[in-house]
Symmetry: C2
């Protein structure tokens, strides 16, 4: 595994070349109604419209496409109950590579079914009694599978960084050379990848991680200058971006290029989801709405006339979405 | 007003040049889950992601941008309680042109508020006691306003046709040279515009209008060879695409290039809306889901391995959207 200082823009450009024609160039959306709420221009990079409904497909494709033929034939393995599972599963299937996804047996049935439907072999484990790392190690050794980590993996960071190349180009097309780029942040793979890309292609853009209140390990780590952990993993509706701590590779990149972080409430994320429904006609999951929530409701923490918010994913169950619409009528 | 035989591909290309950098090139989405339901490949042209949430912005921009400076300074006028109102209002504002929109006083308050918020002067009339044409004629004469009709207007058809140029290009990028293109159809402006565009740029694509059951005036007109009217204007949830009859300009174009039509049920539209939520993460209104409903649930009426469905708009109230999600769980 390469260290953070091995990451560079050339890896992202190489990943972009491999993703070309396979990942979607997701749109750069806006609405005068959102601009009015925010008090500045708001652009939304709609990664919820990426294949499998989140940016994770980029990293999955980048990682699988970087393997040798022998590695691809043997297959890949990932731990995930969410967006990384589906991104890796589809990317592997499109490469003809077997994929094993290790998921907790109490994961939502629809997520297990979706991951299987995308061609992956799903191995369930009991969170209370089994060790997923042990299961993963055993399967990997027996079948020579390559592990694809969700964020602390150079090729995954490079893949997520392709979103940053697009943001740089789309901002320029919109006539924007100076803006803060708000990114929903879990382990930091997307945030650090975008930061490397925009530093190279659009140095007037500054990346700021957005997290749920109470789970702002990245914001606190950036402020402290050393990696800080969250006290707990439970209690936020923003499940997609709750991770124990920033990655060993991603943190030094974020420390050099990003910040300060912004923490948003669950209620603000639900409100941003409702506004994205009414004003942009996109479906955003709670964790995917954190950056838009920061853009709309934390204006005092922002600088400049323009803000770019990445809507990182749209894999939300109907009940949670209905709750957002019911709670925040237009 | 020019006749149907005056419409040609050059007008659409000219409109595309004027729209360039102002209208969005909306994405071409897909999902393996939708392919499986349909039994063939399904691509969705997501016009719900266009400015103001529907393709109507294209026609509005094309019409306003084709005016002389004197006409633009005087302003434009339109009759609409829906998507055409918002498309014209925003296009006019972006051109610095005054816009008067005549809306029924019992239109949903949010639509009136949105149209005003987009800078238009909204003139309300009582459907029971007032004649909107008379109001329009009086205002137009007094203030020298140019009327922009919703579909039977050559520059509007040309603007909607730019969507067809994009479909032709995006199909080619996806490796598709033969497909049926399903279009949600009201008066036929979008349908006829797309048909002219694809005939020129992608002759292997065939356009088929999709309408609500009981309001399939275009399908019946195409079958009869002469313009047929709907028996009533009330009773479909697909309000955006219920019109009394095909246009005098649009019908000859559709008769020459399109068909046969497909009629879908309100229930199928709601089901398609729910699937678009879960599988594409886009918000589609009932009338905007008619083409996707035909793609998913009327496969026996379709030919070929690939179908392209245009999701024409996403301006739906939360209650109707929630009804779709509640009725059709994943």
């Amino acid at each position: 595994m390469a260290g953070g200082n091995d990451m560079n823009i050339d890896m992202i450009r190489a990943a972009a070349a491999r993703l070309n024609g396979h990942a979607r160039r997701t749109p750069f959306l806006s609405s005068p109604f959102l601009d009015e709420i925010a008090g500045r221009r708001v652009f939304v990079k709609a990664e919820c419209l990426q294949h499998t409904g989140s940016f994770k497909f980029r990293g999955g494709w980048a990682a699988v496409s970087a393997l040798t033929d022998a590695q691809r034939s043997a297959g890949v393995i990932a731990f995930s109950s969410g967006n990384h599972a589906q991104g890796v599963a589809l990317a592997a299937r499109m490469h003809g590579a077997p994929a094993v996804i290790i998921m907790p047996s109490n994961a939502p049935a629809v997520k297990i079914a979706n991951t299987r439907a995308l061609g992956a072999e799903v191995v369930l484990y009991d969170r209370a009694t089994e060790d997923r790392e042990e299961i993963g190690d055993r399967l990997s050794a027996a079948r020579n599978l390559t592990l694809i980590r969700p964020y602390d993996e150079p090729e995954v960071i490079a893949g997520q960084g392709t979103c940053g190349l697009e943001i740089a180009a789309q901002a320029a097309e919109a006539g924007v050379s100076e803006a803060e780029v708000l990114v929903c942040c879990g382990g930091g793979g997307l945030t650090s990848g975008i930061a490397i890309a925009t530093k190279a292609d659009a140095p007037g853009l500054r990346v700021r991680p957005c997290e749920p209140q109470g789970f702002d390990d990245v914001a606190r780590s950036l402020a402290a200058g050393t990696i800080q952990r969250n006290a707990t993993a439970e209690g936020s509706i923003c499940d997609a971006i709750v991770t124990p701590q920033p990655g060993e590779i991603t943190f030094p990149i974020m420390h050099a290029l990003c910040g300060p972080g912004i923490a948003v409430s669950d209620a603000e994320c639900l409100h941003a989801m409702a506004l994205a429904f009414h004003r942009l006609r996109i479906v955003v999951e709670p964790g995917g709405a954190a950056a838009l929530a920061a853009a709309l409701f934390h204006g005092a923490a922002l600088q400049g006339e323009t803000v770019i918010a990445v809507a990182t994913g749209g894999n939300v169950d109907a009940a949670t979405f209905i709750r957002a619409l019911d709670t925040y009528p237009i």
